[in-house]
Amino acid sequence: MILAKTGNEAFAYAMKQINPDVVAAYPITPSTEIVQLFSNYVSDGEVDTEYVPVESEHSAMTACIGAAVCGCRVMTATASQGLALMHEMLFIAAGLRLPIVMAVASRSLSSPLNIHGDHSDSVASRDSGWLQFFCETVQEGYDTLIQAVKIAERANLPALVGIDGFILSHCQERIETLEDQVVRDFLGRRKPAYNLLDWRNPILVGPATLQDYYFEFKRSEIEGMNQVLPIIEEVQAEFGRIAGRKYPVLEEYRCEDAEAVVVLMGSACGTVRVAVDRMRAKGKKVGMVKLRVFRPLVHSLLKKSLVKFKKIGVMDRVDAVNSYGGPLFTEITSVLYDTDERPWVFSYVYGLGGKEFTPEDAEMVLEQVLTGKEDELVTYVGVR
């Protein structure tokens, strides 16, 4: 079915089709609508979900953990301060290997308070052990949220699916949706290995684990994350067969013979596409590499792709205060360090707090990368 939906509406609609067993959530701009709209589906009896309107995001994530341990398919949604408040519990969800799926309308972090889109919230959760997807369009958000359920359950790891706050969460797009039954058949039912409510086979979840075993648990969790990429690719292929839409983990846009490319995540990829087209029309050899999955970091794919280019601009919609370039920049320079080619890599930080990022800004960045004229370690795009 073809529908006009904002990012939040598309997420809520996908959640209706997923029909999770439990949703526990707390309102926060700009993700509020996701669960607000979903509660209508609950109220109209269109889903079987037990909806828990908790008193904080901390309790939202905790209730999700409690329900997921009981074998349920569990979802939530949040943004910004809400994700920051959940921080403690994110690590616990991942450490317990629970496939909770969270829709995030990415937003900046206080202070100063700002409700608009950047990647500060998700990237601050980078080391929590969650899979992280960044979407370019509302369509991709809808498709990714459905895929994330299957990926998370196969990987036994939680997954975060981000759309940029307001830029996607509140902008309407034409999207193609699947039928409810198609989504439900695609996902099947969650098959957990353990269930807390199975009292005949009692389990202890979350024991104190000290010097003698902690490291082994963490190592096993890390290995779980290391093995996620093939699962993502498998699920994407399965999804492609039913939906006819495919999203590579790493997309190269007009990168053939490119001398300079930019790498980035999220909605600004659409903006950069326009800039690339304009510059290609002028005969300039530029392209874009879109990264859709931030965790697991697909370092082998990144390396394979990026060594082909002489100059690379890495664009972060978040700053890691006083680190050696933006968070994605440091990842990518690490990935490229042991290659013979060692391309030039430049760090750009743009669009914090929803600061407008126009095709002209993108052209400026591409032009700079192409000419290799960068004096500063980090270029802050468009800041006064």
Partner: protein, 266 residues
Amino acid sequence: MFKLADLAKNKELFSHGHRACAGCGEALGVRQIMLAAQTTGLPVVTTMCTGCLEIFSSIYPHSAWQVPMIHTAFETSASTASGVEAAYRVLRRTGRLNEEIRIIAFGGDGGTYDIGLQALSGALERRHRFLYVCTNNEAYMNTGVQRSGATMFGAETTTTPVGRKGYGKKQFEKDLTAILVAHGIPYVAQGSPSFWNDLITKMQKALDTDGPSFINVLAPCRLGWAFPPEETIELGRLAVNTLMGWVSVGMLTPEKSRVVAICAVE
């Protein structure tokens, strides 16, 4: 009234071999509670917050729990129980679980009076059906006896030391039981392992309550209260009877200050 001879036949769902201090009031209380939990004839699933109980009952690869137990974080026993109860409800409603189960959440006074109060309040307001047991030893004993919102006026702790000017905690404890009553939940009680028959009766009432229930259990701590391990039960009894326990400095009058059950019908 329960008979010890009958209770002794129940299974030890909180088994021996855990690492609590000798004479630990919390371990005694939890053992009695898990014996009492069987009097309903229904299986129980449990949650606990970080603290002494979690540390002494569940150091991997050992466990004292003969029932399902989940620990997530310090302030989260009630919110974890919310999730477990939501799962229970949806599985029952959709016909994927066909038996009744009772849920018990444990928290110490730090995890209940202080850092976990918001999560507890929210869970009660949402009317999840579970029993919350606060094992209250009136300070942060697990981290080494720091003052909590449950510590009494004048009590010496490692963060309210008696010195040339200091005389112990300068504030009164909060009356958590009254706060719980104010939530209008169907069952709120106070108990002590020193009055085991009373505690077990209250456990049974709480588990039979259709809705959230709460029991505040005084658990003398030999480390924090500084007494020999053989005196736990006696000290608990004295605390209740002489008003030196947690019921002494609250809104309760001396006439009512013996272990009181406060029941408000929703």
